[in-house]
């Protein structure tokens, strides 16, 4: 299927990618080509087939409800681009 420029922009908004106009054009072409290639799946009758969402269905690993030491905040925040005391900082959230 061919994607429109509009669709590419919408998807970029969902994905939080601020594409350049040149990228928007390029992705419109390239993604359309990939979607054309995956179109072949439409020819299969999968009505009665169960989807596989997990490679393994055997495991059911759970954990006990016990606490383990957390990271000290200085480690939790060591990689933060911006912080204030022990909080992560971002430009003001506007509701």
């Amino acid at each position: 299927m061919a994607l429109t420029l509009e669709q590419v922009r919408h998807v970029a908004t969902l994905a939080r990618l601020s594409l350049t106009p040149e990228e928007e054009q390029r992705f419109t072409t390239q993604l359309s080509a990939v979607l054309d290639a995956v179109e072949q799946l439409q020819s299969l009758d999968v009505e009665a087939v169960e989807p596989t969402s997990h490679a393994t269905l055997t495991s059911s690993r759970l954990r006990e409800d016990v606490t383990r030491p957390s990271l000290p905040p200085e480690k939790s925040l060591a990689n933060a681009p911006a912080k204030s005391d022990t909080s992560f900082a971002v430009p003001k959230i506007i509701e």
Binding site: L3, Q7, V8, V11, A12, L14, A15, R16, L17, S18, L19, T20, E23, F27, Q30, L31, A33, V34, L35, A37, V38, E39, Q40, L41, Q42, L44, V46, V49, E50, P51, T52, S53, H54, A55, T56, T58, S59, R61, L62, R63, L71, K75, S76, L77, A78, N79, A80, P81, A82, F88, V90, P91, K92, I93, I94
Partner: protein, 486 residues
């Protein structure tokens, strides 16, 4: 003969006999890196101090007669997708430049506990998305057998480093062939274990239902020994398997006499390089000579695997990569003034073209109105592909095929053509969709001297079987003795 020419097990034997020290081996590895890596460019980062400290600790253990494992002291490299506490880890991406993890991946912890010095972090396609190493945000690695060519991807740095004898072995990850394809292109052994056999905790996720770490080595026996260290259930990975871990080296030399080996006709298609096909067919005849029976089998849904993969993997990736948002770690765009900018500019500047392309594709495949026709349908076809394998393994013990349809291609050749790049994975990715183990073992060279790999696929948790089959072939040839012309 230099120390770096030894295999992992040969070195381990010398260490055990006191004929060499881990520090010597680690220094030899570091020297070799200094010597050849300017040409190969396998390493993103070398941790000389960390590796030497670990080596000295290993030597002390050996000296006191209490080695931590059979491989105690053998220096290793890590694909830069494995989190290493205190050592920068980037997954080949600008968005993680400068990220210093506060914890070790489970497999890194296991390697450290087993005493293996970790000499550095190896180059890769950004977030493991690519088949040539060219999507690395930093630089492409080069194939030691022809430095104008790709070592493959995404674990291309790992394969190149092992082939160039910069390290004795390495860990890679395989989502659609990222261990096996570069192994095939560099005359090395690459094993993708069964999904769940090796913990994914601390391994930067590309596609969670497909990713699997595994060993990349020069020999089959080394792969078995390295797998032995990292294969175990992990309480921190809910998808890791409880299946018992056998002794992977026990049956290595048992041969293939009496085994039934399937040859899937869908894996010998047009578009395959004739020299690759010739080498693989020769290997098939070799197996017959060694006493195996070849069985023609069909995996009828193979032709849908590529499309299925290129919906499922990007969809999972689009979600897995949402955490790179400029808030808690990694890059934040300098010019971001608003929260929206923090997200959109950081991600625009931090991700490379291939990663953005897949995020876009995956976001689309999951989006409202397209989910059923794309993602859900792909998951259903995934079931059909799994069932193909289940049926095949009722008839045969393993499947044989080429690993890659072509030998190493020139750097730059396919960069602008994503679809032709995606075709590099057609023989490797069905195995990931089915969660099966797969292995690539060297099976010769083209006239131009480029390596060719043979792929062996097996039943769930039959890594021992794959290793044994690979070893039967390896034993008959000198391929792994050959060193790349650097």
């Amino acid at each position: 003969m230099q120390l770096t020419d030894l295999t992992m097990l040969e070195l381990a034997a010398k260490l055990a006999a006191g004929e060499a020290s881990s520090e010597e081996a680690t220094r030899a590895s570091l020297a070799r890196i200094q010597q050849v890596d300017p040409k190969v460019r396998a390493f993103l980062r070398v941790d000389e101090a960390g590796a030497l400290a670990a080596a000295r600790a290993s030597d002390a253990r050996r000296k006191s007669g209490s080695p931590a494992s059979a491989l105690d002291g053998v220096p290793l490299g890590l694909k830069d997708i494995f989190l290493t506490e205190g050592v920068e880890t980037t997954a080949g991406s600008r968005i993680l430049e400068g990220f210093v993890p506060p914890y070790d991946a489970t497999v890194v912890r296991l390697l450290k506990e087993a005493g293996l010095p970790l000499v550095g972090k190896l180059n890769m396609d950004e977030f493991a998305m690519g088949s040539s190493n060219e999507s690395s945000a930093f630089f492409p690695s080069h194939n030691p057998w022809d430095v104008a060519r790709t070592p493959g991807g995404s674990s291309g740095g790992s394969a190149a480093a092992v082939a160039a004898r910069e390290v004795f072995g390495a860990l890679g990850t395989d989502t659609g062939g990222s261990i096996r394809q570069p192994a095939a292109l560099t005359n090395t052994v690459g094993l993708k274990p069964t999904y769940g056999r090796v913990s994914r905790f601390g391994v930067i996720a590309f596609a969670s239902s497909l990713d699997q770490p595994g060993p990349m080595t020069r020999t089959v026996a080394d792969a078995a020994a390295l797998l032995q260290v990292i294969a175990r259930p992990d309480a921190q990975d809910a998808t890791s398997a409880d299946a018992p871990v056998p002794d992977y080296s026990a049956d290595l030399e048992a041969g293939v006499r009496g085994l039934k080996l399937g040859v899937p006709r869908e894996y010998f298609t047009e578009g395959m390089d004739p020299e690759v096909e010739a080498a693989v067919r020769e290997a098939l005849r070799e197996y017959e000579r060694l006493g195996a029976t070849l069985v023609d089998v069909s995996l009828p849904h193979t032709k849908y695997a590529l499309a299925t993969y290129y919906l499922i993997a990007p969809a999972e990736a689009s979600s897995n990569l949402a955490r790179y948002d400029g808030v808690r770690f990694g890059l934040r765009a300098k010019d971001a003034r608003s929260l929206r900018d923090v997200y959109a500019l950081t991600r625009e500047q931090g991700f490379g073209a291939e990663v953005k392309r897949r995020i876009m594709l995956g976001t689309f495949a999951l989006s409202s109105g397209y989910y059923d026709a794309h993602y859900l349908r792909a998951q259903k076809v995934r079931t059909l592909i799994r069932e193909d394998f289940t049926r095949a393994f009722q008839q045969v013990d393993a499947l044989l095929s080429p690993t890659s349809p072509v030998p190493a291609f020139k750097l730059g050749e396919k960069v602008e053509d994503p679809l032709s790049m995606y075709l590099m994975d057609i023989y490797t990715l069905p195995c990931n969709l089915a969660g099966l183990p797969g292995l690539s073992v060297p099976c010769g060279f083209t006239k131009a001297g480029l390596p060719v790999g043979l792929q062996i696929l097996g039943r769930p948790f039959d890594e021992a079987g794959l290793l044994r089959i690979a070893r039967a072939y390896e034993r008959e040839h000198d391929f792994f003795h050959r060193s790349a012309p650097l």
